[in-house]
Assembly symmetry: none
Homo-oligomer: 193 residues x 4
DNA sequence: AATGAATGAGGATTCATTCAT
DNA sequence: GATGAATGAATCCTCATTCAT
């Protein structure tokens, strides 16, 4: 019962199913059939739309980064002043959604994939650059010349805290993660005065 | 040409080959045959000695952690004073060896595996605890009550910087990595005074 | 050249091929590939349709028992009177088809499998019960209370004669098999008078 | 620690281990290593002594038939008169030892092997002939010309009852088995009068 | 647009067997 | 006499991918 206009719906369903399956497996050892079944379509259709397994994964990664980017942008527009902006970025980075099992799994596997897949690496670079420029923009008024280096410190702290908390019990992780990173920011602020 | 006493030799060869192959592939998508071939034995022998693919991987991970632990211990014994000890741990964490392609690949895949394999998670916990207690021990004289929280900051910074630099060009990465983490430590020190 | 509605056709072909291969080998040491090749499909398809080797075997066993059951039923409906019914069952049990090499092989291996496979054992029990109730029903008018015990004697004779003749030269076996079992029935009849 | 004169001990241990393993598995899907391990020797030694897997199996079968033959002979020498001798053979056939799980497994697999292995078939023929001649010898005084046919009936009954009871609950099986076969013998006797 | 049918390629694992010691 | 070492060959099973419909 092929209907017209189904393509975007199917694509979205497949992307969601991919993220869910990666979360379930914890790795990219997920079959196209499993994804397709969860999405309620045939595996042949998944190939038809995305061209292959790797493309399906990349679409899923792109989706996660898009969501994350939107969250950061949303947090930024309601923040006033440099300090508030930095704190907004930190909080957005540890938003509850990012600690969902499947999102953690996606990120960790993303790192793995980035080693070998040029497309994955490109995506990762985009995420890193965006985070970097957001931080630098927010921190420039506070840190002047040292904004770049301070931003790198914050970004590293975010990634390090995330990876450490992601592999612990997730419920306590979130609060501590924000606290730890904020502490680092406080230190930077103090020194800048 | 079977000789007796070959077991430990073969085991070592297989562990090295496993790390090398994971490095080459960037992921755990490595066949036992590839590993065995690189080690110069049949895949049947690899199974004979380790029991299965996962056991081979875990043995490789254990090896990497052992090496890393030894490096840290070595750096600690030649350091005098709390500050030197912390700096030694930081430097050991970004030792050239840890930026070898295959070690990076092993670490990233280790994180992925830790989500689902209880044995991998246990290993990771051991690494984290050891790093933590080394840091706390060295930092207690400097930070008193706040040593634990400060140690967590350093540990997170190490992991975050590592993961970020690992996915950039590795040659510049190493220097910057040490510098970034040291900066964070300097901040902490200053505040503690 | 995939066409729709092929599944039942493939399943039948695979079941036939399984019986033929078991007959050729004399044992269950038959590879899925051999079966698939004889059926004219890939081994992957065999797995796809049946799920695994054991399921393929069980489907084959079920098929043999179905055929046998049908033969007995067919023989019974054209028989009139108790005595004729018993003789019909005996004759059906030693029908030429049951002495085909592959059917003998299937039966013998069935016995072996019944020791360990619950599903095989269940199938065997069904066959035994059906034979038993057919015999008791036919023999009740002749033997009254003793029908059950007499039926067990006949059933045992059938199985014993079958196994002995099956392992001799099959051509002479069939005639003798019927004769031997009939003799036993004659004895029972005489005594019952 | 090679010692002299160990060969017969090792051989016996291997034969016992083979029977035990076949019993455990219910089939001939038993590895030489399992057998060797149970016998407390290396698998290489098993090959050294027997030449190969099939030879090991045949030695085990030979052992079972030897035991069985001895039991029958033993029962015969203490029996007086034709009737007692037949009853002794029947009882020996259903001796408790023959209902041990591993002996049943050996027999059933023996039947399977007899289809394709000339050596196994030869062994089976020997068993059948010996049983046959024992029965005919005992029954001749009672049945005269009809002794041969009557003996075949008894032999078939023994095999059929055995196979049926072997695949039921073994404890009740033994008693019923003897009773059923004796009943058949009683019928023959009555008719012969 | 969508899928059932089908497969080739490959991978983990097992095992009988061999051989130097 | 006895074994640890080692492997080649085989087997079950999986899966991404293709294609006719």
């Amino acid at each position: 019962m092929p209907k017209i206009g189904m393509e975007p719906i199917r694509r979205k369903a497949l992307v969601s199913a991919t993220i869910a399956e990666i979360g379930r497996a914890g790795s990219l050892d997920v079959t196209v059939s499993q994804i397709a079944k969860r999405a309620g379509v045939s595996s042949a259709l998944a190939h038809h739309y995305f061209g292959g397994k790797e493309q399906i994964f990349l679409a899923a990664m792109r989706h996660i980064l898009t969501i994350f980017g939107a969250a950061v942008r949303g947090a930024l527009v309601v923040s006033e002043g440099p300090e508030a902006r930095v704190r907004a970025i930190i909080r957005a980075s540890f938003e509850a959604g990012n600690f969902r099992e499947e999102v953690i799994a996606a990120w960790l596997n993303f790192y793995v994939l980035a080693q070998t897949s040029p497309q994955a690496r490109r995506l990762l670079k985009i995420y890193q650059k965006r985070l970097h420029s957001n931080l630098v923009f927010a921190m420039r008024p506070l840190f002047g010349d040292k904004a770049v280096s301070a931003a790198e410190g914050i970004a590293s702290m975010i990634d390090g805290v995330y990876i450490r908390q992601a592999l612990c019990d997730h419920r306590v992780g979130r609060e501590q993660a924000v606290a730890l990173t904020m502490e680092h920011f406080d230190l930077l602020l103090e020194q800048a005065k």
